[in-house]
């Protein structure tokens, strides 16, 4: 266990330093641009005002509450999307007709932006969180499904025959061979889905607005824009980026390391 923590620390340190240099670079360029006064101060605030706004809005709990609300929605949406993609993949595995059907839906639905569906979603699902969750599910389901199915179909025939040889049932075959063998694809699907869901959520919230006192990061951005509070808009963008980095570095990387990395399924 201690070994693992040590390894994580080394990895983080390495990444951390690379990123740190990158961020310092951005900050310096930003501040220099600020001093040139090429853009009005109200629209191009200094690094300090953005930092102050970030600290203030984190301290008063507003940003944290909005972030929590957004993360909750995304969690629900991703879970539903994953369950649905498992069901669809299962169906596609069972019969050829289903597979053609699922392929067709993916072709039709995958390129469709969730935001374009909003006017119809409002009529069907109303104006609450359900509508936003629907948009998230839509953006999660198709890439997830596409990747899982690609993974399943690229499982070597030999594995399948091996499973059949030792008389594995169909379900055992799926869980014992197909899923583990296509994990790299499933992870890729998860990563893409996460990024898509995050984008869909923020844009949906920006259009959709808030209900009473509960609202997420996207609405926070559009409200701060309405208030002409540009530093707070940047503060929210920083939070979005931080969450992206955290999820990517901590969650996905660790998940990969502990499963497919350990099993030698990806080249590290």
């Amino acid at each position: 266990m201690g070994n693992v923590i040590k390894k994580v620390l080394v990895l983080l340190k390495n990444l951390f330093f690379k990123r740190l240099i990158f961020f310092i670079g951005i900050i310096v360029v930003w501040q220099v641009l600020f001093y040139t006064k090429l853009y009005p101060v109200q629209m191009f605030p200094s690094v300090k005002t953005i930092w102050d706004s970030l600290v203030n809005n984190l301290a008063n709990g507003e940003l944290l509450a909005k972030t929590g609300f957004s993360l909750e929605l995304i969690g629900i949406g991703m879970l539903i999307g994953m369950i649905l993609s498992v069901i669809f993949t299962g169906l596609a595995m069972i019969s050829k007709v289903c597979r053609n059907f699922v392929d067709s839906i993916i072709t039709i639905a995958h390129p469709l932006p969730g935001i374009a569906l909003l006017p119809i979603i409002i009529l069907w699902l109303g104006l609450g969180s359900n509508a936003i969750i629907f948009v998230i599910v839509h953006s999660v389901l198709w890439p997830m499904l596409l990747n899982t199915m690609t993974g399943f179909s690229s499982v070597p025939k030999l594995y399948k025959q091996l499973g059949q040889n030792i008389e594995m049932s169909k379900i055992k075959l799926v869980f014992g061979i197909y899923i583990p063998a296509s994990l790299p694809n499933i992870y890729a699907g998860l990563k893409i889905s996460w990024a898509r869901a995050w984008r869909a959520l923020i844009s949906a919230e920006m259009i959709f607005g808030a209900s009473g006192t509960s609202s997420g990061l996207g609405f926070y951005i559009s409200q701060k824009r309405y208030d002409m509070d540009t530093p707070a808009v940047f503060a929210a963008l920083i939070v979005i980026m931080l969450i992206g980095i955290l999820v990517e570095d901590i969650f996905f990387n660790q998940l990969e390391k502990r499963t497919i990395g350990k099993w030698g399924m990806v080249s590290q």
Binding site: Y39, P40, V41, Q42, M43, P119, I122, L123, G126, L127, G128, I207, F208, G209, A210, S211, G212, T213, S215, F219, S222, Q223, R225, Y226, D227, M228, D229
Partner: protein
């Protein structure tokens, strides 16, 4: 007058012939002269912005400035207008007074150029139960749609809540931020909201489809107020005073045409809003509608916004956030306020 009509007919004839022959033909008359500058103007969609699109379609600015190119942009939100003005990509735009005061408070370099329109806003409900604000009792069920928190619609609702319920924030947890078209669909189809703080033309069509006005905007405010004003950037006013003067003249002329229901102007409005002539006239004549270059209710709104903390400081005088084109229409009566000065405050 006859000459004006004649020139109008000529201008319209030219526009029509251009439209028929396509834009590849040589440009007629004055526009053959080299263009010396551009004016960048933006407005949003909707009947209340009609002076701008009528001015565009009838080429009224070009009448005063034949050699100047006017670049028109239709923007989707008021936020984009203030950003464009601040960034210098716009010279003149249309905004609500509340966002303009926010912009002034934050130090954006733009001021009110002229009034544009006073409009009847109102809280539209379908169910008689909600005619009284006291009957909004369940924050999760009795939702009220407004375009955005701190919008004029939200402010008017707070003012009404202050009067009817004794507390400005009494209805804040009932709010649902929703753009007008979505709110209209939701209200009329009884989806999740029971009331919509609406503005023209949505207010008109909602009332036509059975909606009732539970709170009148002017009653809530206590007097008339400018729903929209035109706003000019400091850069434009400093660097192009002659252009500014011409735009002001053109705007006055256009508002005159709309108020007198000039045929050509009404035609433009009909085609833009996709209305029949009767409906267009009915909307323009809706009680409370007033296209005017004089701003109304400025001081009253500023004071309210300061009281509830939407802005941090109170303007010391109108010239803090109005160009002289606007302050001059309000005037300054010696020995006590004039009618128009009084009209800047809430009763």
């Amino acid at each position: 007058m006859k000459r004006r009509m004649l020139s109008l007919v000529i201008v319209l004839g030219l526009v029509a012939s251009l439209a028929l022959t396509g834009c590849n033909e040589a440009k007629p008359g004055a526009t053959n002269a080299p263009t010396v500058g551009t004016i960048k103007i933006a407005y949003q969609n909707g009947l209340s912005y009609s002076p701008f699109y009528v001015m565009q379609e009838m080429k009224i600015i070009e009448k005063y400035l034949p050699n100047v190119k006017v670049e028109w942009t239709v923007l989707a939100s008021g936020s984009a207008v203030s950003e464009g003005l601040a960034a210098g990509s716009l010279d003149i735009g249309v905004m609500g007074v509340a966002p303009l005061l926010t912009a002034w408070d934050k130090g954006f370099s733009m001021k009110i150029f002229s009034g544009l329109v006073n409009s009847p806003l109102g809280l539209v409900v379908l169910d008689d139960k909600y005619m009284s604000l006291k009957n909004f009792t369940e924050p999760n069920k009795d939702k009220i749609a407004v375009p955005a928190p701190k919008s004029i619609q939200h402010i008017l609702l707070s003012m009404a809540a202050q009067k009817q319920l004794g507390k400005a924030t009494a209805l804040d947890e009932y709010l649902k931020a929703l753009a007008h078209p979505d709110a209209q669909t939701a209200l009329l189809n009884k989806i999740d909201i029971v009331a919509h703080f609406s503005s023209p033309p949505f207010l008109f069509s909602e009332v036509a489809k059975g909606g009732k006005v539970a709170v009148d905007g002017f009653d809530a405010f206590g007097g008339d107020f400018s729903f929209l004003v035109s706003v000019a950037s400091k850069k434009f006013m400093d660097e192009q005073p002659a252009y500014a003067g011409a735009v002001y003249m053109a705007m006055s002329e256009t508002i005159g045409l709309i108020n007198s229901k000039d045929d050509a102007a009404v035609q433009v409005i009909m085609s833009k809003e996709k209305l029949t002539k009767d409906t267009a006239i009915k909307y323009l004549d809706w009680a409370g509608t007033n296209f005017t270059t004089t701003p109304y209710g400025l001081a009253g709104l500023a004071k309210y916004m300061k009281d509830v903390g939407y802005i941090e400081k109170l303007p010391a005088s109108y010239s803090d956030y109005c160009w002289s084109t606007a302050t001059a229409t309000i005037g300054q009566r010696a020995g006590g306020p004039s009618v128009l000065e009084k009209a800047q405050n809430r009763k």
